[in-house]
Symmetry: C2
Subunit: 250 residues, 2 copies
């Protein structure tokens, strides 16, 4: 078996609206069939213009109240509210759900790695974003790869952020072991592994968070898997969401 | 910059109490200075004998009650209670805290990949476990590596399990960006990245969960980082733990 190789895409410039990030990546690394390309959601959103000037945002009454409560710019809070379909927790930070199912702190709205006075939104449809990048790579380089759009998120119980997948194309999110047996022939009870998040997490490690400018990572020779795309819990299944919403009276 | 390489350790036999897993790994893969070796907690626990026969366990009243409630063998439930220092949630599954700070489903007690009628516990001191394996590799192969002991855990909001770090040696758990600036010179707000969990997650992907028998993974040419080891929230910081405990009246 060939070793897995993981390559940060070095030398990408600052991304601006209209940039073709697929082409910029293909100019810098050779991309092969079956590679997996992880892209930070920030560069996709900047290239597609999912950004806003804070000065163009008028905060609502709720945004002013939550801005005071959490010590944040009410215009930034308004951007978070605009990006959210369901507010799960208001304080000490806003935790909310987005239309595509992801639950994240401040709806993933970011003020880092962008010009002063601007915010970056998560792509509104990250599955489509991953499909698009994959199709562009196919058209530029003639290869069929997998794509993951990554975001950085906190978690319960453990300090620190990790990379998560918010969009993917070319494989299912979850590796499903249902029906598989263990080393002793027992049918496995724990049957679902969130493979796209495990790959996105390692990509995030390779990217770094600050100013080293490696917002894309290529994985080669990864094992294949089969499964399904139901990465997000339904309301009924999501115990943490239910008790958090109850606690904050939402 | 050299590419990162990731190598599953192929061909390890079933592990038994008394086995020297460090030596068994070194016989199968070349390990170099600065490599990171991820080891599934199950093989460490089996080698060190952190296992128990279900028939040797007498369930308490509480274990019988929770076994009935959750449809589980009361002796298995007793093993989970024995491994826990704090029960956070009793139903639909036990979520509990272990002495070393980790919060996990069923306290990480496992009935997979072990003989019928037995359970595997997480190592009681996984930091010491990582130190031990690292020292053994140094003594066998004369190289200084990093070691991560991994476990597989569910999470809030997202379906599927991912690999997490429960013990580590040779580097800090958290990459700390405090004081760093972003591409535009802003001081970063989000300053802590749980690097050991991101590496453990990808190792878990390479390991697989079922019967392919790759319980150890070697990473080469990873970037270095600095930071700290406070991977677990304090009670005061842990919002999810607090509301879950309140909901279940603990």
């Amino acid at each position: 078996m060939e070793h897995i190789q993981v390559m940060g895409v070095q030398g990408l410039p600052l991304i601006h609206a209209g940039d073709n990030i697929a082409a910029m990546i293909c100019e810098r690394v050779p991309v092969w069939d079956n590679d997996i390309l992880c892209i930070a959601s920030t560069i996709y959103s900047k290239a597609r213009g999912y950004t806003k000037l804070l000065s163009a945002i008028t905060p609502s009454e709720r945004a002013v109240r939550l801005g005071n409560l959490n010590g944040e710019d009410p215009r930034f809070v308004q951007a978070v509210l605009d990006a959210s379909t369901d507010i799960i927790m208001e304080h000490p930070f806003i935790l909310s759900e987005l239309a595509f199912g992801h639950i994240g702190v401040r709806a993933g709205v970011d003020q880092s790695n962008i010009e002063d006075g601007m915010v970056i939104f998560l792509p509104p449809d990250p599955m489509k974003a991953a499909d698009e990048v994959r199709a562009e790579i196919r058209s530029i380089a003639g290869v069929d790869i997998g794509v993951i759009i990554t975001d950085t998120c906190g978690r319960s119980f453990r300090r620190g952020q990790t990379g998560n997948a918010i969009g993917w194309s070319g494989f299912p999110a979850i590796r499903d072991f249902r029906g598989d047996t263990d080393l002793f022939g027992h049918v496995l009870k724990i049957t679902e592994e969130a493979v796209v998040d495990e790959i996105a997490g390692f990509a995030n490690f390779v990217m770094g968070e600050s100013n080293n400018g490696v917002p894309a990572v290529v994985f080669r020779n990864c094992p294949k898997w089969t499964g399904h795309d139901s990465l997000y819990f339904t309301n009924n299944e999501d115990i943490t969401k239910r008790v958090l919403k109850k606690e904050w009276g939402q």
